[in-house]
Symmetry: C2
Subunit: 412 residues, 2 copies
């Protein structure tokens, strides 16, 4: 019956700073070793080094239009009144867009401005200027030029640019592998016919989805029952093949909450408990130099804990700053009361009323996953505030895009 | 030498409306047949039908805290002065969070408020209220409740909610398969050592990246040379296995531009040429009831053409509205001149100057893919305007997130 209740109430910011600081000083955040992959497979990957152009683009002087290549000085004097005839092959050459400019020519006249007297003779009615309708070597990209810096998320345009510059392989950061360990003797795979007391394992899939969004590669392990030895074996197995381990549930101080004990045995617990609501009994630990996070069992607590602590680790491990959350200002539809001493994360829906946005707080239970799924954003009540008044303007951190569009005549 | 130059200059909005209207009336946009997949695999997929809860969550009355279950009326009168002893198993039962409430009990006292006199006796110093620290059946989700509507992109939270509600399979729309056909006798796979006149194939990968972003499943075909018969075979092969075909290059009216002829032979060309810059010589056609888009060869034209015409088709085919583009207001750093009669899409970089955003136009060549890769957004000059003055406020449609964050003490 003996228990050791040692959950603390630290500000989460302080806990995160210490966690990241420790991971920084042990070299964990120094960046994963690079892997080289085909540029065609690199969408969304993060560059491990700057990428430079192998060749110029264009790599030869090219026709920018379909038309005829000419020597500009030979066209001076052509006019509506005095059309000029040019002998094909000798004085002019038919070119398509992208063709190399034939030797001895320095301009292209677009096809719409050319008449053909016969198979061997083109007729023009306007002179050409040197360089006209020609793409000089390196117009887009110069050989050796920096294309993208290190620690950059590759876009479709970047990939196009790299290939145009003759770059076919790129060094990227491996995606951080995140092991997700659902635990609990009472936890079972989802089924429409559970027995009373059985808890359906849903957090693993939710956490895996969040990890994917942040650029990680999740692996959800089978459910581990509440057995110290089994959990220990599973944790060691997970650590061997991953960069970060999330142990789901077992983070509070109940009878079968082995996680903290286990992390203490195998490594170091930096934090057990933060002053947030929901999400209080989180564990931040380090085992074998890798971060291990004990995530609370309630879905909303689990999601928040992952957002606060796993997200920055996953981003920094890729060499990226966690992106700034999108936010909007909104007016509170009703008062939020929140006890002093905890930072509370309140889910809200957003509605537009005239030209202002109204934030409507939704259910606050830590177990109400559907309330989170339906929320548009989060309002944060600071630790040293007791809430916000109705009508007060607050910042809403968006969980999803706030508006879907119907934009008929706009740039879609 | 005979050519038929029949590229027109329609407003792109009109061309798109006709294209979508035709696809709507031939049933193409009625929605793809659903496929059923595991909920664990459904992140980012689009529901084909509303999803309802199979069971309630919780599906039994559950302890919301670690503690002891009691019958509230038996605890009345307990106080600091007169602590109450409860016989374990008979008058109280130890429960962990999530345990089913044992028969005959109606409240849970949290463990921090319980003392244990011996193995068989708990001591409390405060009465309990009926329902206290209990999650009633259906607190989060009621059996039969609508969880997510049809045509909804599934989030990590949605997946968690569905699994909690005993839903393990979900009907989703197949991802539209998009065949991308690079063409051109002069086009070669990217290499750092091309011969003059060889064009490196980069658009296929760029277009594939865009298609992926929009929820489609791209397949880039091998390069087809400029041979009518080969291109015809390739197009028919691509149509058989895909929902949309993008033929890259061959959309203008040059000597070897077979695409329009081919689409006319096999189906219907709705549009050949729109009044935009870049991106003019696009082909919008329908073959075997499916959309075929002839995409110009210049990378920036290709990207714009895909954004304007392929993006809405791919979204609508999934049962989704194309999402509204994010946009900001900014002040133009310098004048943009744009000829009357064409809607021009000008790439800009954004810089913050004090409390205003400044939009700086970048290179306007259609071939300058890196200028597009480095742009923050697009400014649209309408067809019937000649540009914008320096200092004018304009709308910038964002190509990427404008700011990366360093937000130490914020909700990360």
């Amino acid at each position: 019956m003996a228990r050791k209740v040692f959950v603390t109430s630290r500000p989460w910011q302080e806990a995160l700073e210490e966690f990241l600081g420790t991971l920084r000083s042990n070299g964990y955040l120094a960046g994963l070793p690079a892997e080289e992959i085909d540029v065609t497979q690199a969408l969304g990957r993060v560059t491990a080094a700057p990428v430079y152009a192998a060749i110029s683009s264009p790599h030869y002087p090219a026709a920018a239009m379909d038309g005829i290549a000419v020597r500009a000085e030979k066209t001076f004097g052509a006019s509506e009144g005095e059309p000029l005839e040019l002998a094909l092959d000798r004085e002019a050459a038919v070119v398509d867009t992208g063709d190399p400019l034939p030797e001895g020519f320095d301009a292209v006249i677009m096809i719409e401005e050319v008449a053909f007297k016969d198979k061997a003779t083109a007729v023009i009615r306007r002179p050409a200027v040197p360089g006209q309708n020609i793409r000089p070597v390196g117009e887009d990209i110069t050989a050796g030029e920096l294309l993208v810096p290190a620690n950059h998320i590759l876009t479709p345009y970047d990939l196009g640019g790299m290939l145009s510059a003759g770059v076919t392989r790129v060094a990227v950061r491996p995606r951080p592998r995140v092991a997700i360990l659902p635990t609990g003797t009472e936890v079972v795979p989802p089924t429409p016919n559970p027995a009373p007391g059985q808890i359906l394992e849903s957090n693993g899939t939710m956490l895996a989805g969040l990890v994917t969004r942040w650029g990680g590669e999740p692996q959800v392990y089978p459910i581990t029952p509440d057995d110290y030895q089994l959990l220990k074996e599973r944790l060691l197995q997970a650590l061997a093949g991953s960069d970060l381990v999330l142990i789901n549930a077992g983070s509070s101080a109940g009878r079968e909450d082995y996680t903290a004990r286990l992390v203490v045995e195998l490594g170091q617990v930096l934090t057990h408990g933060v002053a947030t609501r929901p999400g209080k009994p989180v564990i931040l630990g380090i085992v074998e130099g890798k971060p291990v996070i004990g995530v609370p069992g309630y879905p909303v607590s689990a999601a928040l804990c992952a957002e606060l602590f796993a997200r920055p680790v996953i981003y920094y491990r890729q060499g990226l700053e966690p992106p700034r959350r999108e936010r909007v200002q909104a007016v509170l539809a009703r008062k939020i009361y929140s006890p002093l001493g905890r930072e509370e994360f309140v889910r809200v829906r957003l509605e537009r009323e005239g030209d202002r946005l109204v934030a409507i707080p939704t259910s606050r239970g830590a177990g109400t996953i559907m309330a989170l799924a339906r929320a548009d954003g989060i309002v944060v009540v600071p630790r040293l505030a007791e809430g916000f008044a109705a009508g007060q303007e607050v910042t809403v951190y968006l969980l999803r895009k706030s508006e879907a569009g119907s934009q008929k005549s706009e740039f879609l």
